[in-house]
């Protein structure tokens, strides 16, 4: 078995474990770092500029964090391009900015990471649930990691009558209502999964029609991704209160998933009864909170920018610097929104405004 294949086999075995020690995590993180340093040329030159060599990187937190913008600028890959590879792209707005690309030569690592974690954090013991999916399917959006994630949820964990209610024509509300009614009637737990903004659209439509449901015990909702300007900006408090009121799913069973195209592993909370909820991931991903310019970890209790070291990111880079603001909390971290580019206080021009003006 060659080096890459044995690394991959070990990675799959690692994800299949029930947990790991700090040492085990470090060992695999460093092996992946060495592999990516050797095979991923843009990453190597980034490391060299940062003075991070194989000898200097002694623990996972020493691995230089690659900013997510780099996924737009460069092809970050350790294996050569394959015709069969899957490429997940970030949702580029209006086509001006380049879209970030994440190359997956095979999806077995991604899929194992997703299913192991999803079974524990969303299904909580249930084998299969009848699912309603509020997002376009994989055929409609082959480059969307979320579409693949939801397809996997449906194929691995969905009952036979699971359906996608977002068609090219838009939301199939009658179909969704029929499925929800049936769940009410049969008393079989139901799962509704999709983009946060789609759930806002569902709630708006239900309110408009004066309809509401009491889904059976054990039903659950998964939302992800925020509103992205696709729906009105609903405060989180109203969002989860609305889900509970209109669908009868207690907020403890409304799970938010925090994922990124640039990662191969997701974070979940344990319900949204209390806001902001605490997010956490499985044993093969670890996070840091850093000061953005120096990259140093912030003092305990301080807010910082999230850095994730995701061992399932075996082909691109394990360690990425996000643009998300976080803060440590008991059992994980709080997600406090995006670090918006600072707005200039006066008449000197800030980048964000300039880009906006230039696009206008």
């Amino acid at each position: 078995m060659d080096k890459a294949a044995s690394l991959l086999a070990d990675l799959l075995a690692f994800i299949a474990m029930d947990g790991c020690t700090d040492k085990q995590f470090d060992q695999l993180a460093l092996r992946l770092f060495a592999y990516q340093y050797e095979n991923n040329a843009p990453f190597r030159s980034f490391c060299q500029r940062r003075g991070a060599t194989l000898r200097k990187v002694k623990t996972w937190s020493d691995i230089p964090a690659v900013p997510i913008d780099a996924f737009k600028a460069m092809e970050l890959r350790s294996e050569p391009a394959l015709p069969t590879e899957r490429v997940f792209m970030t949702s580029g707005t209006t086509g001006r900015a380049a879209r970030g690309r994440h190359f997956h030569p095979r999806l077995d690592v991604y899929d194992l990471s997703m299913t192991r974690n999803f079974a524990r954090r969303f299904m909580s013991g249930a084998q299969r649930l009848s699912m309603g999916i509020l997002f376009p399917d994989e055929q409609a959006m082959p480059n969307s990691s979320l579409a693949h994630y939801l397809a996997l949820a449906r194929s691995e964990f969905g009952a036979a009558d699971s359906r996608c209610f977002l068609t090219p024509e838009g939301l199939d509300l009658p179909g969704l209502c029929a499925a929800l009614e049936q769940a009410e009637r049969t008393g079989r737990a139901y799962a509704l999964l999709g983009a946060s903004f789609s759930l806002v659209h569902v709630m708006d439509a239900l309110r408009e029609q004066g309809r509401g449901f009491r889904l059976p015990a054990g039903s659950r909702i998964l939302d992800t991704g925020g509103y992205k300007g696709q729906s009105r900006e609903l405060p989180l408090e109203d969002f989860y209160a609305g889900l509970e009121e209109l669908l009868g799913v207690p907020r403890t069973h409304c799970i938010n998933m925090y994922g990124m195209t640039e990662l191969s592993t997701q974070f979940y909370d344990d319900g949204n009864a209390v806001l902001p909820s605490v997010k956490s991931g499985p044993h093969w991903i670890r996070s840091r909170l850093v000061e953005p310019v120096t990259g140093r970890s912030v003092a305990p209790g301080e807010r910082g920018i999230l850095v994730h070291c995701d061992l399932a990111n075996y082909n691109s880079v394990t360690t990425i610097l996000t643009e998300d603001v976080g803060q440590w909390a008991e059992g994980g971290f709080l997600l406090l929104g995006r670090a918006e580019g600072a707005v200039a206080k006066g008449c000197s021009l800030a980048v964000e405004e300039f880009v906006k003006a230039a696009a206008a």
Partner: protein
């Protein structure tokens, strides 16, 4: 933590307990400063407008400009006196609210106040009025008849907080044209305008009621509409979005003088790039980047540097980086909050991960950052806070079409070149939209009487009233001495 409190603003005719106060908190080096800013109701705003107008009618419009200049000069003399209580307040608290290095601020304030002494103010007036006496009474017009300049009935100022004491410019302009004024404090620097109004009242008590300084949250509500309804001229600093929204709310008849976002840049010609001159120019360029951490509308974002001289552009960028490192020792950059830091990091990352001919000079975690690009690139803003781009070009002329694309954002260009080159480039840049050309090193220190954004500071505020020849001639028969 030690807590200090300051009451900001200036409210003639209103007692402190009659208005609502909002607290703006600032923290620095273990000190917490709570600045209380006044929030008025619509009725109070209306009454205030009436009061300042009435006071200006009685006390300000009756003063000859020479006397107004004298009063401002005496106020400025006190601001230049480091033992004066007002100056001491400014030196103590402006660093806390702005976060800027205290020494940088002290030097900046002195350099700035110096441009408002009597001789400079007279030049300021003369810059706009060939005969400054038109501000005091009717003066003969060359075409015949007579003409007099009247300032606004009510001048409303909306200030920005990027440069401390920025409000002094528009306050002085308003005074010189004898306009009663109501100004809105910037949340990021809510102190200086109120101090100046109070200082003026001490220096010349009749002026106490001619200026008012207030605050409102964001764009404000009905109280602000009440104020705008009474304003005949509104002078505002800020982002273009803010200014556009403001314009929507003004009565059609109001004159609007916006100072929006600008993008400064510098040109360094081959003549300035020998082994002796290049380091000196780089040092001056670093000062322009350092002052107010690049927050001024005149602050440079890009230096275009000509190739073909003994010191190549890349070496100039290294000099600039070294000077910025030096200046950090004397005048430390202000601490960045998370969003500002993230913006700087994002800008650095774009350079690091961008095209191959771009490099970031110096350590990524330094409190300054120089990006060097070896091929001509667009004039685009950096992340501010001492982040600067240096671009090598074959000829400075290549830069003209590039900057012309940002016409709406052009204002200041710093030039280091021979006298012939200076004038030749100035013509090209002026046509492209640049309104101010300065030495490198003086970009962030505009001189007294400059034409801010290419406009007339005082003429834009006044309206002219003419007595036509016909009226003069027609009056003759009605004279008691008429035959």
């Amino acid at each position: 933590m030690k807590v200090e409190r300051i009451t900001a603003g200036h409210l003639p005719g209103l007692r402190d307990d009659e208005v609502q106060w909002h607290v703006l908190p600032f923290e620095r080096d273990g000190l917490r400063l709570e600045v209380s800013v006044p929030m008025l109701t619509a009725a109070q705003m209306q009454a205030l407008a009436q009061r300042v107008r009435g006071a200006a009618d009685r006390h300000l419009r009756t003063m000859p400009v020479a006397e107004i200049i004298d009063v401002i000069d005496r106020a400025i003399a006190r601001l230049l006196d480091r033992n004066d209580p007002f100056r001491r307040e400014a030196e103590a608290w402006l660093p806390v609210v702005s976060g800027y290095d205290a020494d940088m601020l002290r030097l900046g304030l002195t350099g700035y106040f110096k441009t408002f002494r009597a001789p400079q103010l007279r030049r300021f007036v003369a810059e706009d009025f060939a005969n400054p006496a038109v501000l005091d009474g009717f003066q003969p017009a060359p075409k015949g008849g007579a003409v007099r300049a009247f300032g606004p009935d009510l001048l409303v100022h909306v200030w920005a907080g990027n440069v401390p004491a920025l409000s002094l410019w528009s306050l002085v302009c308003g005074l010189l044209v004898k306009a009663p004024g109501i100004g809105k404090l910037a949340s990021a620097e809510p102190l200086f305008a109120g101090w100046f109004a109070r200082l003026l009242a001490e220096v010349h008590p009749p002026l106490a009621d001619c200026l008012a300084v207030v605050w409102w949250r964001g764009a404000g509500g009905e109280e602000v509409d009440a104020l705008y309804a009474q304003a005949d001229t509104v002078l505002a600093y800020g982002g273009n979005d803010t200014l556009a929204a403001l314009r929507q709310r003004l009565p059609m008849t109001a004159r609007f003088l916006p100072h929006g976002h600008k993008l400064g840049f510098g040109l360094v010609g081959a003549a300035a790039l020998d082994a002796l001159k290049a380091p000196a120019v780089a040092r001056l360029a670093a000062w322009d980047v350092m002052r107010y951490d690049q927050q001024g509308c005149y602050s440079p974002h890009v230096f275009y540097v000509e190739r073909g001289a003994p010191v190549p552009p890349r070496a100039f960028a290294d000099y600039l980086a070294a000077e910025l490192a030096n200046l950090q020792q004397r005048f430390a950059r202000r601490p960045l909050d998370l969003a500002e830091g993230a913006a700087v990091a994002k800008w650095q990352q774009a350079v690091e991960w961008g095209s191959d001919d771009q490099v970031l000079i110096g350590p990524v975690d330094a409190p300054w950052s120089v990006a060097y690009g070896d091929s001509l690139q667009a004039l685009a803003p950096t992340a501010l806070y001492r982040t600067i781009t240096v671009v090598g070009v074959d000829r400075l002329d290549e830069v003209v079409p590039v900057v012309a694309k940002q016409r709406a954002f052009l204002q200041t260009a710093g030039i280091a070149a021979s006298p012939e080159e200076l004038y030749r480039l100035a013509s090209l840049l002026g046509a492209a939209g640049v309104t101010r050309i300065s030495a490198i090193g003086a970009m962030s220190m505009p001189e007294a009487g400059w034409h801010h954004d290419g406009r007339f500071n005082l003429i834009d505020l006044v309206r002219m009233t003419e007595i036509e020849q016909s009226a003069e001639a027609a009056a003759q028969p009605f004279a008691p001495y008429a035959d």
